[in-house]
Symmetry: C2
Subunit: 287 residues, 2 copies
């Protein structure tokens, strides 16, 4: 199995370096970051990667370490390059703390433009009791070896890789049942499923879970829609610290109406635990 | 059919009066409200009603009329009585505008305390194209006449009504399959379904849809959990203007883990359209 070949660790990996934030001296709650061109789709910085950056700033600003629920509104398109994150501690409770953060970049005219705004509650996943009562079932994804990577068969692989730099950072293997769009045969169901690791072998943690819910191709591709599908709002719940190994991610769209659609993601770890749930509202800009 | 007996209209109803906000002269974006004791559960002001109040303030503050996606973080428990809502227009775009709002109340020591904070995107539902591609199916709820209201059989009805004032404002009829908890026999599945109108006969609109996603008894009751289930964060997407008549609401919890659970709600109108979707993260405080 290709996964596990590389050896990056949590704290020393591409994801950690590219989501690093530096507290600005003398300005409490303000962090500087450098958005990497390595996590782009065509020219757009991936929304899940942005969540990782802003999530790390909130992790430093708030008294609790782990994102429990994070909501992002994407306001303008982020560009690779310098960014400033301004955080606010809204409430610091015993079990949970609530924070807000905005990510800004400077435009060509030198004006500070807000790219995204986030509200979040942070807690301590390791402090939670172990009890689980779930009726959620692991999504039906074939074994890792039977799924399609960007290095797979020419037609499918090429289309999946496209011109997106982020593919080089991910170990993404799509369920063949949801990869038909890559060869011009979408299923029409609005599903996208696959295995998702990080290319350098770093295991997942709560911060990289923020990335995983918005890192697969859009479900719209499986509906046969080829245009851009920008996220309006995305909310992710982190329910459990993920065990080592690649994750399984399943995303579904049930309702495309009036030019908007929801994408519901569930993320499962190698011990068959539901570690994250997310829903986003996106626009379908038909091409 | 009991529904349709009363004749309140959108704009002239209990919900409209109780969610009214008054712009504060000389302070743009600031609104005064009076939280009604009529929408409480025991002593707590219902979170869905609060969304209606703050949603109305954002409707007045933003250039677009309809909530498309609204996220609320509940910070401290709201009390019936005066409240101040401070709004901010984050971004005003052509199709969507983004806003933020906080609801404050004054505590016994005269300090202003933030009760909840909301981020939202507003648009114009009537400006959307009519296209719908959906695989979502109407939830299996028996006819209105076969569901249980607060005036139903003594045991069930009494337990449903409890000491909650909000029951008087709602025309809530629970699916018998999810009402077993009221007679000490919860199904254990984590489901809650029913018909939901407003008691005075007012039809639903996008603002009252904000109420509907948090107005049924908690799914935790159907899991046999009797304690308080406070909402940490709730996000609702309004997908369509609802047709006249009572709505069908179906809420499910799949994953109770570490003392937290999600509640996923879907709301369907009388023309079988999916008009709202929501998910909240709540804490299960076991009693």
């Amino acid at each position: 199995m290709a996964y596990a070949a590389a050896q990056a660790t949590i704290g020393d990996s591409e994801f950690d370096r590219d989501t690093a934030v530096v507290p600005r001296p003398g300005e409490p709650g303000v962090y500087d970051a450098d958005l990497s061109a390595g996590w782009t789709i065509i020219q757009a910085v991936n929304g899940g990667y942005l969540l990782g950056v802003i999530g790390r700033a909130l992790q430093q600003a708030l008294p609790h370490p782990d994102p429990f629920t994070v909501t992002a509104h994407y306001l303008t398109a982020s560009q690779p390059g310098p960014a400033t994150i301004r955080t606010e501690t809204v409430r610091a409770g015993r079990t949970l703390s609530t924070g807000q953060a905005s990510l800004f970049q400077t435009d060509a005219e030198g004006r500070e433009v807000e790219r995204m705004r986030v509200m979040a509650a942070y807690g301590d996943l390791d402090a939670l009791p172990d009890d689980v009562r779930t009726t959620a079932a692991v999504p039906p994804i074939p074994p890792y070896e039977e799924c399609f990577g960007a290095d797979a068969a020419p037609a499918g692989g090429g289309a999946i890789a496209g011109s997106t730099a982020i593919i080089q950072r991910l170990d993404l293997r799509l369920d063949p049942a949801t990869a038909g769009w890559a060869v011009g045969a979408p299923s029409g169901k609005g599903d996208m499923r696959g295995w998702l690791g990080l290319a350098d072998g770093r295991d997942h943690d709560p911060l990289s879970l923020l990335l995983t819910v918005d890192a697969l191709p859009p479900t719209a591709f499986d509906l046969g829609i080829k245009g851009w599908v920008p996220t309006v709002e995305l909310t992710v719940h982190i329910r459990c610290r993920p065990a080592p190994g690649p994750l399984r991610v399943a995303i579904t769209t049930r309702n495309l109406a009036g030019g908007f659609l929801e994408e519901d993601a569930q993320v499962w770890d190698s011990e068959d635990r539901l570690v994250a749930q997310s829903r986003q509202l996106a626009r379908a800009l038909l091409s």
